[in-house]
Subunit: 392 residues, 2 copies
């Protein structure tokens, strides 16, 4: 049997938190002229209801939450989720017997939305950057055409604005999973040894994270190759670790539906000068990012602070698109540390700092830490990586 690393915080959230989330959304809706929201993606449904289940991994059934201009949200969901949804703070739970290919919630939605359509109301949905339509496009088109009076607007910025700033209870959960992730990485030298197949190292990392109290370690990617790696999103091979390899593991572990997302590098046996220099440059770029992560600065400022250091060694300009992002109920959330993102940092944003360096002949190295923005500066949620490339 396994034991948690630290006493975990309480699971779930108080009803007060859902009231605050809903009222804050409704204030923003009023400002933006949005009469109601229709949401269907897992984090948004969970944000307003507290409904948490892994059942979302089944793509079969759509789920909907409607946020009116005032009052509690309404859940329109498959009957299989009724018992769990009725245990949340939501009162109005409407269900259908799903799957129902010819009417998967469409009649229920039509009934709910028809009065809004008759009034010519504005309905906010998520159709912007980083969103998906988690219902069949054909069903959406059918619904849309039966509610022609409805003015559909994009509420992506509204929703992401709400979710970017975390509550204290959310930060507790994020701190807890980052602590577990840090402890799991600290044990890698025990099993990430010369001769161990990378696949076995990955498996043991997951088992370690679970033993330390993670609910799961759903995201684990990485690489190991002589002198450095060229790809950072692969599943592991069966190749045994060899002296001179650089090993990188990047994990998203979860606790109570919140993610950590960070990585670590090690040299197996020894490291050449180029790898040591890349690591040192990345470590200092990470530090520059953390130091720049203050309220009032923008994501673009963070990107530039990191890039200034990276340019000491990397003249390729890089191509991963950004140097970190938001973190919370999803492995990656808005904002993005990139030239295009002028989001102003605020207290209680939780972010990854993730510089990426191209070097040598097609090699790359990545570093990542997780932070929370405080009143005046950022605090680490992860245990900071050592300043020199650790050797196993």
């Amino acid at each position: 049997m396994s034991y948690p690393l630290t006493e975990p915080p309480a699971r779930g959230f108080s009803t007060a938190e859902f009231v605050t989330r809903t009222e804050t959304a409704q204030q923003q809706m009023q400002i933006q002229g949005i009469d109601a929201l229709l949401l269907m993606s897992e984090p948004e449904v969970r944000y307003f209801t507290g409904f948490q289940t892994l059942f979302w991994q089944s793509p079969t059934r759509p789920w909907f939450v409607f946020v009116p201009s005032q009052g509690k949200p309404v859940a329109l969901i498959p009957e299989i989720g009724a018992d769990l949804m009725r245990r949340t703070w939501i009162d109005d739970v409407r269900t259908w017997r799903a799957p129902a290919p010819h009417d998967d919630g469409i009649s229920l939605l039509t009934e709910l939305l028809s009065p809004l359509a008759a009034r010519g109301d504005t309905l906010g949905i998520l159709k912007g950057h980083e969103t998906s339509l988690r219902m069949p496009l054909g069903d959406w088109e059918q619904l849309r055409s039966s509610l022609t009076g409805l003015d559909i607007t994009d509420a992506t910025a509204l929703m992401q604005g709400l979710r970017m700033v975390k509550s204290d209870a959310e930060i507790e959960k994020l701190q807890h999973i980052c602590t577990i992730g840090s402890a799991a990485f600290a044990q890698v030298p025990e099993f990430g040894t010369q001769g161990a197949p990378l696949e076995a190292v990955f498996r043991e990392f997951r088992r370690t994270a679970l033993a330390l109290g993670a609910d799961d370690a759903p995201y684990l990617v990485g690489a190991a190759a002589p002198g450095g790696y060229a790809d950072v999103i692969s599943p592991p091979s069966r190749r045994p670790l060899q002296a001179g390899d650089i090993l990188m593991m990047d994990t998203g572990c979860t606790w109570d539906g919140y993610y950590c997302d960070f990585d670590r590098n090690w040299a197996i046996g020894y490291a050449d000068d180029q790898a040591r220099r890349a690591y040192d440059t990345l470590w200092r770029a990470t530090q520059a990012g953390i130091d720049a992560a203050r309220p009032g600065n923008t994501c673009r400022d963070l990107y530039q602070a990191m890039t200034t250091v990276l340019n000491e060694m990397d003249t390729s300009g890089g191509d991963v698109g950004r140097l970190g992002h938001g973190l919370g109920m999803q492995l990656t959330e808005q904002p993005s540390h990139a030239t295009f993102d002028n989001t102003v940092l605020k207290e209680n944003m939780v972010l990854t700092i993730e510089p990426s360096l191209s070097y040598g002949n097609g090699l790359m190295m990545v570093h990542e830490e997780d932070i929370v923005i405080g009143k005046h500066a950022a605090s680490l949620l992860t245990e900071r990586a050592p300043p020199q490339l650790p050797v196993i």
Copy 2:
């Protein structure tokens, strides 16, 4: 360190398998008057390219695969995936520096699709039951309006028809992960004991599945409550198991990107007569489903075979919507064992048999096994649950 249960099959697929998949799709496209497919969901991209990464867990970036009327598919993907995609059988890999909120692949898609629009070609996309649009709806609307000559049609049935029948190499992977899942369930009596918090039992199950060779155990739901449970999709509580509880665990473990999906029930200490009778009825309903799973029968036939047995005890009619489904790269796939699904069973379909029984005062019990349809009858991929409710 952990050791696999059995020598696993080879990872990945031969190029010949991707050639066959593509050519079979192209034959179906020709029959249905579809000139090309545009796909963007993880299983479809993997089906045609072999591109496998957990990076899909990040919602930030869209990914696209285009299947022309002849020749190899074309990948249009974020630069971060270029190295991995270039190691597949795909030659034509077009990338952009993502995320790019104002042009996340839209220019590349427009360039690719404009000649088709000019010819008035028919483009198949997935917009039917059990699908999502894994790109921003706003981007799709923009693309659609810039390619007005293009005739968009729903290729859901085509795609699901291809994926429902598994290749021998896919069945090997599915058999392997079902064997691991069966072995993991066999160990539950060692840690699913009276006094163990359900959360700890779940954690230890995941660690066991990993030790036995699963790549991961991403889906694990269940319940434990006196005499039976009322909900089958919840995360675990911290409540310790008590004598008289019925414990149910339902898991989707993965190996090389393929899922098992089945469950097991146990009584803690003792079981009352009602629970034993429910278990017996479900076990026989499962058997009736397995026996009816022959080429030529339909999913509706399976549903009815199971329902006939369930009706001995359950007069509620149930409400989970179906009694099993397809299984493969996704935890749940088409078809559905339901009255609405007249899919004719064929050799090499992999299915779950999943009857659900309502009994007593708001209780329910579920059973699930995984099978593959053979020439004349079905074979179990899972080790059949014992015919009497096991007591821990």
